[in-house]
Subunit: 292 residues, 2 copies
């Protein structure tokens, strides 16, 4: 199967699993509607694809990684809902549609986020099947620490503390590592854990994901300046309006393009110990060339 | 050790563990301060005490249950922070002190809640020690489902949907079962799981906790009418002002007192299969006689 076909197959698998995640659940309140509204709004599904494909690359069955893939996407989605709240970034549009609180109100949006964060653990635990409990525990340990105050939540706190202040490149890199890097890294590492990869495999996968995550963020900052609003599904120029220090304000567009190129090469190199890194290598390149 | 002494010993153990939970963590933002502000604000610690003591009653070592006890208290605390937000119940006081968002602002309060919810899983996973991974997985499965949209989060959504509407007794009981009962039940059941209790043990413990949780809520509704603000650390009469249907508006104070008595007797009876139910029986009585 070539890269495009496998990417499409992975996405279809993930969409189907996410669609079914809350089918038939109670209580009869609109909370699942609000959760699904954001969870099923499309998106690139980069994190769950990483989980499935690192599992495959490390010799595991991607089907066993699917619940963990869904979990990481739920955590990503909850973070978007909470970040968009009026008391946070106060955004009206996300993936081309009104943000969660614009449709369901703030209270429900807070709860939908809480529900998705919790559902990540529910879904991974109830979908564990025959997977060895040690691996379930290891994978969730990895996920929880990446998502928490020492990872993504801490990154969002740092981000808010930094708004309007002038940051150095190392501040911005630290921020990225916490705010988006940690979860991307966990997404990849969980696939490796599910496959039974050893510590060296995990380290290599973390290194790959670290490089990819940083390149991804730099590309995001570039698209906020050069991108097309219709392609992105959100307004551009938001960083500049918020007076945020980004990789573009620090390094310029040309400097950013060079960083992205270097990081992508390093990501590729990190996978050299694996027999079949082709898909994940192609994915790194794909993310760098994207326009949305 | 008599009831009072053991209760004090359990509380001391829990306070100490919660105090140390986030020691030395990074990144350097005020997020851990905000998390600790609410987590270490006192409170009865009913849920973690249940976890420790059901573990002991089922023949396990309460020390092994301590990380799970901390986890359930973190989830309880996060739910209070989010429930107090302006877009939810908009409360200014909690346990006699300004609510989290009053001190740290709304954005940080949202993140502190998110951080505590995630930390529940972090703390349980990193504190698992030699506990069999199957039991870790079972206990977290129990916790996640109780906390999520099919449990506590769903209950809060139901509660908000019901505000200003007239509810029947069965509506109010359903609401309680989701909003507070599910987590209390999970707190108790996790202790039993850690101890290696069988399905009948778990069922008995759930039954006990279900009765206790309902009695606890009825008592809460009574205290909102009859309680002393200084004792409670929060304003009374809030239910009446919010035009909420409560057990008191449905059954009156006398009817409530009778329900509480009956439920406490049933909770006691649910533990008849265990050799040493004395502490948990006494706890049920203690919670019913409380004035805060």
């Amino acid at each position: 199967m070539n890269f495009e076909a496998r990417l499409a197959a992975d996405k279809a698998l993930i969409e189907e699993a996410l669609k079914g995640a809350f089918r038939g659940r109670t209580p009869r309140a609109d909370i699942y509607d609000a959760m699904n509204y954001s969870l099923l709004a499309g998106g690139k599904r980069v994190r769950p694809i990483l989980t499935l494909e690192t599992c495959r690359m490390c010799g595991g069955d991607p089907a066993a990684a699917l619940p963990f893939a869904c979990a990481v996407e739920m955590i990503h989605t909850y973070s978007l809902i909470h970040d968009d709240l009026p008391c946070m970034d106060d955004d009206d549009l996300r993936r081309g549609r009104p943000t969660n609180h614009k449709v369901y109100g703030e209270a429900t949006a807070v709860l939908a986020g809480d529900g998705l964060l919790t559902a990540a653990f529910e879904i991974a635990l109830e979908g564990r099947g025959d997977l060895a409990p040690e691996r379930v525990v290891e994978a969730l340990d990895c996920l929880a620490h990446a998502a928490g105050a020492g990872g993504m939540v801490g990154g969002q706190a740092l981000d808010m503390a930094g708004e309007g202040r002038s940051l150095t490149q190392s501040d911005v890199e630290e921020l990225q590592r916490f705010k988006t890097g940690a979860l991307i890294s966990a997404a990849a590492e969980m696939g490796c854990i599910v496959a039974g990869g050893d510590e060296e495999d995990r380290q290599a996968v973390r290194r790959y994901a670290g490089k990819l995550g940083l390149a991804f963020q730099i590309r995001d900052d570039m698209l906020d300046v050069t991108g097309d609003e219709a392609d992105l599904g959100k307004p551009t120029g938001s960083d500049a309006r918020g007076e945020k220090t980004t990789f573009v304000t620090l390094k310029g567009l040309t400097g950013c393009a060079q960083m992205v190129e270097k990081l992508t090469a390093e990501a590729e190199e990190a996978l050299s110990r694996f027999e079949h890194p082709e898909f994940l290598t192609a994915l790194a390149h794909e993310l760098v060339d994207r326009t949305n």
